[in-house]
């Protein structure tokens, strides 16, 4: 009940704040470039190429794995800095 209440109130607060923003259905057009069309079309092309050059898929997976690693490292680093800011010793 308590955790549910906290969770619900937190989500309600967040959704209330962001309810002032419009719903995003498509990406915007910037400088005449329809980003949504570009993204969708680009993904379609990549998928077509990956269907033939199948090893692209493996390369992309490796790339995404490295990106995930970097994000995880950056997150841990940020937590460490926050801990240090609050008075803890530096995590080395």
């Amino acid at each position: 009940m308590i955790s549910t209440l906290i969770l619900t109130e937190l989500v309600s607060l967040i959704t209330t704040i962001f309810s002032f923003f419009p719903q995003v259905d498509v990406l915007p057009t910037i400088l005449g470039v329809n980003l949504d069309t570009v993204i969708v079309g680009g993904i379609a092309d990549v998928l077509r190429l990956a269907d033939v050059f199948w090893y692209i898929t493996d390369v992309i997976q490796g790339f995404l794995f490295i990106m995930g690693y970097l994000v995880l490292k950056a997150t841990l680093s940020a937590i460490g800095k926050a801990f240090q800011t609050l008075g803890g010793e530096a995590i080395t």
């Binding site: 009940m1 308590i2 955790s3 549910t4 969770l7 619900t8 989500v11 309600s12 967040i14 959704t15 209330t16 962001f18 309810s19 923003f21 419009p22 719903q23 995003v24 259905d25 498509v26 990406l27 915007p28 949504d36 993204i39 969708v40 079309g41 993904i43 379609a44 092309d45 990549v46 998928l47 077509r48 190429l49 269907d51 033939v52 199948w54 090893y55 493996d58 390369v59 997976q61 490796g62 794995f65 490295i66 690693y69 490292k73």
Partner: protein, 506 residues
């Protein structure tokens, strides 16, 4: 399709085994033979007592909610069967019989919703009652002993107190099919629901909320009373009381509950009926105002009449409901939403207070680990701290709708969605116009060199398919593990070098 033989065999075997094990000096067996229709008649050989009547009903197709009822009668056919061959029970002082309300015209079984002997077997509601197999002395006596027992498990009933007394007799095992749990049979076997005396619907319905703006409220009952149950003077009784749980301070509650607040509407024929009040007055000693109410609806018929005056009404079938009179202000709506929300939590997590229904003055309260008190505390703590899956799912969906689809996360969500739902496209053709200056003087001549990359890809795929090893493995099957290994090694090298600070020197 009923599977009598399996059940009957199991029935017999279990009964015999229990009889031999528990009462070796009073062994008896219950032999049940299939009969026509939906009832089975059997006999008991020998006599004795039993605590548990083993009835295996697990073999039944419970999807339609079979009900198994057992009743008894002496083999000599002299046990007050009544004109139609089955025992004419009367609710007996020995044990209450909530299933049986009308003994005068044979067994009429009704309204199991109010009974306590309800169990769930194979996902369906099963309820049963054993009407005792009484001694010979009572068969011709004025007051047949009706022993009743509650369901022990899905395979048997416990009897007593007192224990069932088994004598040579003919127990009737009756089956029927009605998943609604209403009347299931009469003295001629199972009856179809269309001919069962019943209350189909009441208005306000159970748990309904009635807005104060709709007052005065016209109470309405729809149902059916069959010719067997119908007698001139039949009526429908409506009894409305304030809910004592929420309005216990009202001094009139007890009095009204016992004596007042009843309204009778006549049922003039044996047919379907739809009776309504013309106002919400209902002879109430209190006005209908905001609050929680409980209602009792009964089809009643008179015991006898003298010169058109009816006396000694008894209930053929009854129904209990609760309803709420509520205003419809914004605050009320919020309250109703919160109640629905709490009900969602409660339904998803079970009733956390189920183990907490005990008196603090109970000196025999179990304080041990696994006892009622500990389980009560555990249930409350669990209920307070652990969100239910239903609530979590609902919350995540709210977060997705209200946060992940709004800027700035909405743009990322859109990209992820495009990637997840992306479909293969057709790659654009590449073409180049090359001028041909020598063929004309205005320099408008040109040739177009085109490159259909899609055709190229298709041809490449065909070419790749032609590469196979002697075992028939394609080039992809052979090469892909090598490429995956290389990519994996490169990823590991990247991470290794990054962790050791070597990437900055690259």
């Amino acid at each position: 399709m009923y599977r009598y033989p399996q059940v009957i065999n199991t029935f017999t075997i279990l009964f015999f085994v229990v009889g031999v094990l528990l009462f070796p000096h009073q062994a008896f067996a219950l032999n049940v033979n299939a009969d026509t229709g939906l009832h089975v008649q059997g006999t008991i050989n020998g006599s004795g007592y039993f605590h548990v009547l083993p009835v295996d009903i697990s073999g039944f197709d419970a999807s339609s909610g079979h009900v198994l009822l057992i009743t008894g009668c002496e083999a000599n056919g002299n046990c007050d069967k009544g004109a139609d061959g089955y025992s004419a029970f009367s609710p007996n002082a020995l044990a209450p019989d909530p299933n049986h309300t009308n003994g005068a015209s044979g067994a009429v079984w009704d309204d199991v919703a109010s009974t306590t002997d309800v169990s769930t077997v194979n996902g369906s509601l099963i309820y049963g009652y054993i009407h005792g197999i009484w001694p010979t002395d009572y068969c011709s006596g004025t007051l047949p002993v009706v022993c009743t027992g509650a369901i022990l498990t899905d395979v048997g009933w416990t009897g007593g107190p007192p224990n069932f007394h088994v004598s040579a007799g003919s127990p009737y095992v009756l089956f029927t099919v009605d998943s609604t749990g209403l009347v299931v049979m009469n003295n001629t076997g199972a009856v179809s629901r269309s001919t069962i005396t019943r209350i189909d619907s009441v208005d306000p319905d159970n748990n309904q909320s009635v807005a104060t703006s709709s007052l005065p409220y016209l109470f309405d009952v729809k149902g059916y009373i069959n010719p067997t149950d119908y007698k001139a003077g039949a009526r429908l009784m409506m009894k409305i009381d304030r809910n004592t749980d929420q309005q216990s301070s009202d001094a009139l509650v007890g009095f009204n509950s016992a004596f007042g607040n009843k309204t009778y509407l006549p049922i003039t024929a044996s047919t379907t009926f739809d009776v309504s009040t013309t106002s919400d007055n209902l002879n109430l000693s209190f006005p209908l105002r905001v609050g929680l109410y409980k209602a009792r609806w009964e089809i009643q018929e008179p015991g006898f009449d003298i010169f058109g005056l009816n006396f000694f009404y008894h209930t053929v079938i009854g129904k209990d409901t609760v309803f709420t009179i509520a205003t419809t202000t914004a605050i009320d709506n919020i309250q109703l939403q919160q109640e629905a929300y709490l009900n969602t939590i409660k339904n998803a997590t079970g009733d956390p207070l189920a183990e907490c229904q005990f008196s603090v003055f109970n000196t025999a309260l179990d304080f041990s680990l696994g006892g009622q008190l500990i389980n009560c505390m555990g249930g409350i703590i669990s209920w307070m701290l652990i969100p239910s899956p239903a609530v979590l799912s609902s919350t995540i969906q709210q977060l997705k709708d209200g946060f992940l689809t709004r800027p700035p996360m909405g743009y990322l969500t859109r990209i992820v969605s495009a990637i997840q739902n992306g479909q293969q496209g057709t790659l654009p053709n590449v073409s180049v116009d090359v001028p041909i200056p020598d063929t004309d003087t205005d320099h408008t001549g040109k040739i177009t060199i085109g490159f259909d990359i899609n055709q190229w890809i298709a041809d490449t795929a065909d070419l790749e398919a032609t590469f196979q090893d002697p075992a028939g493995h394609s080039a992809k099957t052979i090469i892909e593990p090598i490429i995956q290994l290389l990519v994996g090694l490169l990823v590991m090298m990247f991470i290794w070098n990054d962790l050791h600070g070597k990437l900055s020197r690259l």
